[in-house]
Symmetry: C2
Subunit: 198 residues, 2 copies
């Protein structure tokens, strides 16, 4: 009988390798990054790393799959602006974090090089957006924003300026930028900007 073995050692190896990969991505980006060194840091034979993942891109894709599973809890402040501001600050804090910021930049960079990685990244953000979408739905229910407002678009409108800053400027997003992004999204949403034209 051919049983697959997800238990004990394999799982330990996977988590050690994914952790090492995340660390190295955060430290030196995904450019000159080789699987052998990841294996060395994870104290795992490089043969194993090459066999199970094969390429840096595939490893990143796996890391993204794992990251998509761990969801972080949504805040509920009772108002759209409050919720969006909480979200914006959370994202800004993540992108400003010395490990997480470079890590996210590296993940996005990896996705531009490999189709499978890109899919994993898209899935990750789809999940994240879906987690926060309810706060817009509640705002619709409360009558803060017009019915028909696209929740995902509002959530993305909050994150977009923060990521844009991270990637294209020398100044990562702070709380000022975060609050501004949240306010802009809330204002636009109230005005019905995120209601798709019929």
């Amino acid at each position: 009988m051919t049983t697959t073995r997800p238990g004990g050692r394999s799982a330990r190896v996977r988590s050690a390798v994914l952790r090492a990969a995340g660390d190295m991505l955060a430290e030196q980006g995904f450019g000159h990054l080789d699987l052998a060194e990841i294996g060395r840091r994870a104290v795992v034979g490089k043969t194993t790393v090459y066999r199970r993942w094969g390429t840096v891109a595939a490893l990143v894709a796996d890391l993204l799959d794992e990251m998509a599973e761990e969801s972080l809890p949504r805040t509920d402040t009772g108002t759209l602006l409050g919720d969006l501001t909480a979200n914006a600050r959370l994202v800004a804090d993540t992108l400003t974090d010395p490990r997480q910021g470079p890590l996210f930049a590296a993940l996005i960079a990896s996705a531009t090089c490999d189709e499978r990685t890109a899919q994993a990244l898209h899935q990750f953000y789809e999940t994240r957006v879906a987690e926060w979408a309810p706060c817009v739905e509640q705002a619709i229910a409360r009558g803060e924003v017009p019915a028909g407002t696209d929740p995902g678009e509002v959530i993305r409108a909050v994150s977009a300026p923060l990521y844009y800053r991270l990637l294209t400027t020398a100044t990562p997003p702070d709380h000022t930028v975060a609050d501004r992004a949240a306010t802009a999204a809330a204002v636009a949403a109230e005005r019905g900007v995120y209601v798709p034209a019929e």
Copy 2:
């Protein structure tokens, strides 16, 4: 006497290599990209490429420097919303273009791996933002938006959602998304969202 030789052959080599680099970046991303193949496509000895640029990142930085020099003309429609919409559509068209879209993604990816490349990218976007900032200044003069509004922030607010879509979703920005981004930025700007606190 030690004269530098910017003329004829050197310039021809540089432009051939930069063009080839841009093509290959657009086609296969900046991941598995080696200078030898770029040289081959540019019909330039690989020794020359290695000597003049040394690394992929340095070559991308040079490409960005060149791209920052060629400015594309700004539209002037007479209203902030009109100008921002024109800008948004221009950016969206660029990011949707089969060559330019992947190229910009690759440039951003490269910048996450190398400090010098990141600086070149930041400079590039600073230039682009500065080119469009006047349309916000005109809007301030016309009284469409409050005095003190940060022109750069408004321009970035227009581009951000488009780039965010390019990088984190499976659906590149179309004119619908572009118009929405422009409208959202205009609405928020009118409301004084981009006026820094006191």
